[in-house]
């Protein structure tokens, strides 16, 4: 529900911004505007490999598989952006003595990020962001092909950077790295509580970005 809410809110804002896109196309671009940051929004689709720190029981007992994410960024002031993302992380349970007995976890995460994008060169951009508001749902599948599952939930904090290369006016490819900390709601015995309280990830990703170039969102309102 929270995932849906964040995504809906974010994409409705971005789609609204496209209404002024036609006006942009009709505009004359003079040389002075070349230096002006033109991005309004970026849509992202990517895959990533999660590597879990082994300082938690989930980290010791699970392995990450290739996962995916999608979302968008809205440039609100100059190069500052707000992003809304949804990702799905796949974990195989390799040692149930650390986690409890289940086979795999699908972790769906939605988060809101704030960041800044730098231009490294004409086609190369670098961005750094923090996502202080996020929510993750761990669906733990106990048996294959059955509906039997158990859920864990967590609050998410993500620090992320990416490097993107423009392959055309609207499309770019990117690599990214993020460090993610999930503060879980798992309750257990005091002597092992700290082993379940936080789950930390290093995520290495690659993907495609689609850019809407129309200047800052608020300057177009």
């Amino acid at each position: 529900m929270r995932i849906l809410l964040v995504c809906t809110l974010f994409f409705s804002i971005i789609l609204n911004s496209q209404n002024s896109d036609d006006e942009f196309n009709d505009r004359k671009i003079d040389s002075s505007e070349v230096e002006v940051f033109q991005k309004t929004a970026i849509f992202t689709l990517g895959v990533f490999q999660p590597i879990i720190n082994d300082d938690s029981n989930i980290g010791k007992g699970a392995n990450g598989n290739l996962s995916f994410k999608l979302g968008g960024q809205l440039f609100v002031y100059k190069r500052f952006f707000v992003g809304g993302f949804f990702n799905s992380t796949y974990l195989d349970i390799t040692d149930i003595s650390f986690t409890g007995k289940y086979k795999r976890s699908y972790v769906t995460t939605s988060y809101l990020q704030f960041g800044y994008e730098f231009s490294v060169s004409k086609k190369l951009s670098f961005a750094a962001s923090i996502a202080p508001i996020g929510y993750a749902d761990y669906r733990n599948y106990i048996k294959k092909n059955r509906v039997n599952q158990q859920h864990d939930s967590a609050k998410v904090l993500i620090y992320e950077t990416y490097l993107s290369y423009d392959v055309s006016d609207r499309f770019s490819i990117f690599i990214d790295y993020s460090y993610r900390t999930d503060t879980t709601n798992i309750r257990t015995a005091p002597e092992i509580q700290s082993n379940f309280s936080k789950i930390k990830y290093h995520n290495f990703g690659i993907g495609l970005k689609f850019t809407i170039n129309n200047g800052n969102f608020f300057s177009n309102l």
């Binding site: 986690t99 409890g100 509906v147 039997n148 257990t188 005091p190 002597e191 379940f196």
Partner: protein, 239 residues
Amino acid sequence: MNRMAKFKGLLLLFILFLLQCEVPFENNARLLIKGQIVDENNQPISNSQINVFVRRDENFLYNSDPSNEDSGVLLGGTTSDIDGTFSLITLLGKDEDFVIEVYGGEDFSKYMYRTNTETYIPDDYLIDLETISLPKKAFFEFNIIRSSPAGTELQYNFNYTSIPCLEVYEDGVLNEVETACYKQMNRGRFLDDERPDASGDFLSFLGANVIFTYSINDQPEVVEVLTIDDINFEFNFNY
């Protein structure tokens, strides 16, 4: 239309059946189960098997195959370390038959812990079984033979400690009515001309005392205390 209605009904029944089969689990919860396994001399038993089930019957205590998983849903299992200690992390299955089974091997007695997790979540998500004693099993075999003249009658009884241990907890408190742990059992009968001899066996544990009480021809009872000092203890008695 009628066929469609039947199909929908069957589908609904099937879904209900599936849901009924599923064990509900407590979200955002892990249970820690720990303890130490020792024998009758307080010596640690390593490699004891500890399994946690829901929807489990009590056959484990009486079944010769302890690994039998025909009944119940296994939540996790582990073995005890060299010092007899163990700890096990499981999901918290919600069921009225939440069971922890401890099996020390063929030579030892068995232990079962049972509670209802539908209505009770263990304090601090911890079940500490502390020290579980699995005394070494011993077969007590007896032969009673009449060597006296016909007409001599014997009333005898063996009072012994039985080996399976089932502890039942309700809301974290031992239910002494339902608990059946190393219960005192009696086995005896009356022997006369029709049946002058008797033989049989029962399971107890090494080091346990068996109280043998008998009376010949309604004379005052005689009590003998027999200590089982061998895993195949044989007791012969003539009267």
